[in-house]
Subunit: 514 residues, 2 copies
């Protein structure tokens, strides 16, 4: 058994059942091994940003890593931006990068580059396998590294001769590492603050935003009056009817400062101190009020749900009911297509257990409140700020959860980064309804020009924010990749076509012209 | 004058007149400065791979660098693959990357990453500007670094506060560094080999492949019988009627070994020792015969044309005529669409002074011989092997040479990496005729599976090489970005539509279904 086959068998044994790939010559033995090993589904992306973004979406829904397969340094480079997003979302990914055969590197052939250095800023673990007999064990170590809480991008570099030479057979994969319990002191410190009655925010992240964590947080809020919030962007939140609703810290600095102004304490549950997404002249980087203290109940890698259980126990919160949202569906919006109207129609039409992929950017700022009482659903966001995650993440999420409908809310500027994902959706017939927000500009940057105090802005500058001239035709782009689509310019048509997409198996794109 | 404006003025003073950009919040002051400074054309790409690939194509035709403007680590990451190609082609680029304000980095906001480390494997020079008063001088240093022979990617990282704080005004740009003359010993050593009559190859690269270098090499060949070749892939070759034709080292290892088998000496003129693009089991990495010696006449950064002049003088080659190609246009091909037929029609129809961008990959292997006696033209290739350079390079080349026709020979698999370039072509109305080779597979990899000895290949593996199912519709994709196009399935239609594209100003795409 060659090294490639020993690695593929190790991956399957370790629960890695999907490989998102864009392979080349140096990965051909890995590709060939796929047909000799049962249990690995291999999914082609036409660009590596699709591959890594899909691996992110997959792991968020499957709660275990997928593998990637990338072609040398440039193939990795093309996938780095969505690996950046995965790192920031603590998503586990086994990121496999082929390299030249060990003895060939010295010749500096055209595709030679320093892969380890390129990978490091966007990985939590990096290893180059030295030979074919090590590659299975290195693969097992990569799985363990990826699954180390809170989840990491583990990059395994695979020189071609480690794939084609004789290997040592599959390696055993260590058990999935468990999250460490938080200390009794951290729980007691948090309980003390909550008993003090001082204005306090419980800032939730990671697994604390799943149903059990939310329920516990809701009971604690009912018992103590603490406010609950999630960060501005979150890897995954369970929402809608039957779930405890949480607000998010607003994105604009001024609104965030206002929303956080009254808190004397922020208790971090897997979250980070709230800071501004960008710096702006004369605006603060830290969003909390002067004098507000941040306290760590649980670090991101610790057992967040266990910490909330312990805190609820300490506060006697178990006898309080969690304030869950009731089902309350609005009537779908009519008239002009606006972000507000779409959010109302979304709230009305989102199907039970929908997975919402949110890269609506400026169009999506107001989507949370109207959907609070929608049918129960799961909401995934971009935590790294590198645009172009939406369509790939929808691809991976839909693949991980084929029994649920994936709804991808995609801004046009961001969508153009990784539009090739549409082809993978068509090939795999993934059940994704895409709402494409065609405002034909990098709308967020219009505000940012003013926010940073840039003055005397003229045509040349505005042209850099404007993605019209010519207008993109997303229906043609989708058709070019085998995805049916339709353009809508009023909400009646939007409601009809969005419902049609939801009712149609496979991918479907609704271009909503704003 | 803020730092951003001092930098833009320095760039313009230093001859950098075009900025390919995909900016974000942290680059807004740079963008705003563009309207206050005369002489900088700013061109938007909808993905950073377009930005960096266009900068490569621009510099190859303009013989001076363009600037880029990228948004933090992920924006850089998206541009790295085409920076890799630029590094391998020794293309000068002033690669500007915005970063968070210096004081904001410590807060680890979502878009924070280690930009310097990410840039290093794909840059010849990296600097982070520390403050607004330094940024103009750092920009001047970046221009000088980029233009240091043979040409480098110079990455300048620009924290947002270095752009918005008060700067020190424009900095003076050092003179363009000149190429060093080769030593008399190197010339005499090469002359001695050529006088020996032993089978020798003169392997040309870089500026030696422009008209003057080719003419000198042709005279030397006429005087001594030395064979002339270019590397497999080349940044720019002047070709066609009136130019000295050179073959290229073949891509497939077996053919390359055969082509080089008889040489006892290889004289390198800015070129590298011929090595295999990839390693394969039981095939050599070094392509020359055992016992063949490589001799350096001129290193890539030295004065290659001067070296050829000195060598021609030493050999008395001046009195020999260079064997230039005569004009001999074939009749355009008819019948089925094949790579061979297209190469014949290309030879017949290429207009005078066309710029040919060659990312035809497997479809393009046979294009060189038939076009040897075509009208004079310039041929640009991908030297780094990272696919997805063709359409962006065509964008930059067309912008640099608006009076010439750019013909982009683009494979479909590679084209999908950076198809967003079509939109920039449409916006800027660049005069590019694209021939899109739709073989609907990563055809090169089918051969590579066999070459690496991968066995027992089944459906799952073949699916990774096949980009049909669904077929891409390039006419729809082009229309979606504002570029007119047409699909052809026979050569009569190809000839008609290709000629139509050549006769039409602006971009036009011919999808040739193979």
């Amino acid at each position: 058994m060659n090294g490639a086959e020993s690695l593929v068998r190790t991956l399957v044994d370790g629960g890695v059942e999907v490989c998102f790939a864009n392979p080349g010559t140096s990965e051909m033995h890995f590709v060939a091994a796929l047909d000799r090993v049962e249990g690995m589904r291999c999914v082609l992306g036409l660009f590596e940003g699709i591959v890594t973004g899909a691996a992110d979406g997959y792991a968020r829904m499957a709660d275990k890593p997928a593998a990637t397969l990338l072609h040398l340094g440039p193939g990795l480079a093309n996938g780095l931006a969505n690996l950046h997003n995965a790192v920031k979302a603590s998503t586990p990914i086994v990121n496999i990068v082929g390299d030249h055969a060990t003895y060939h590197r010295a010749y500096d052939a055209p595709l030679t580059s320093d892969i380890e250095t390129a990978a490091k800023p966007f990985s939590g673990w990096v290893r180059t396998s030295p030979d074919a007999r090590s590659v299975a064990a290195d693969g097992a170590a990569a799985i363990a590294a990826a699954r180390t809480p809170p989840g990491r991008v583990a990059t395994l570099i695979l020189p071609a001769d480690t794939a084609w030479n004789e290997g040592a057979g599959p390696a055993s994969v260590p058990p999935v590492p468990v999250r460490a319990a938080v200390s009794g002191e951290a729980v007691e410190a948090a309980a003390r603050i909550l008993r003090s009655g001082e204005p306090t925010l419980l800032l939730l992240a990671g697994p604390a935003l799943r149903e059990r964590g939310l329920e516990l947080a809701g009971r604690i809020a009912a018992a103590t009056g603490v406010r609950l919030m999630a960060q501005t962007f979150n890897a995954r939140i369970e929402r809608g009817a039957g779930r405890v609703p949480v607000e998010r810290v607003p994105y604009p600095v001024d609104l965030a400062v206002k929303a956080l102004a009254d808190f004397r304490h922020v208790i971090l549950v897997g979250s980070k101190q709230p800071v501004a997404f960008f710096a702006y002249p004369d605006k603060p980087s830290v969003l909390t009020a002067p004098g507000c203290e941040c306290h760590v109940l649980a670090r991101p890698e610790e057992d967040l749900v266990g910490a909330l259980e312990a805190l609820a126990d300490a506060l006697g919160a178990g006898r309080h009911a969690a304030p869950v949202a009731s089902l309350d569906l609005p009537v779908p919006a009519t008239g002009a297509v606006t972000p507000e109207a779409i959010s109302r129609s979304l709230a009305a039409l989102l199907p039970e257990q929908a997975i919402v992929i949110d890269e609506a950017v400026s169009s999506g700022r107001a989507f949370f409140p109207p959907t609070r009482q929608a049918r129960p659903h799961t909401w995934l966001q971009n935590m790294g700020g590198s645009i172009g995650l939406g369509l790939p993440m929808a691809t991976g999420a839909a693949l991980a959860a084929p029994d649920r409908k994936t709804v991808c809310l995609q801004a046009d500027g961001s969508g153009m980064y990784t539009l090739q994902a549409l082809w993978t959706m068509a090939r795999e017939q993934l059940d994704v309804t895409i709402v494409l927000f065609a405002n034909r500009s990098y709308a967020i940057l219009r505000g940012e020009l003013a926010n940073v105090g840039a003055e005397n802005v003229g045509r040349k500058a505005l042209d850099m924010l404007d993605i019209g001239r010519p207008d993109l035709d997303w229906v043609s782009l989708a058709r070019g990749m085998g995805v049916p689509g339709v353009r809508v310019t009023d909400m009646e048509e939007f409601n009809r076509r969005f419902a049609e997409g939801l009712a149609t198996p496979g991918p479907y794109l609704v271009e909503a012209v704003l």
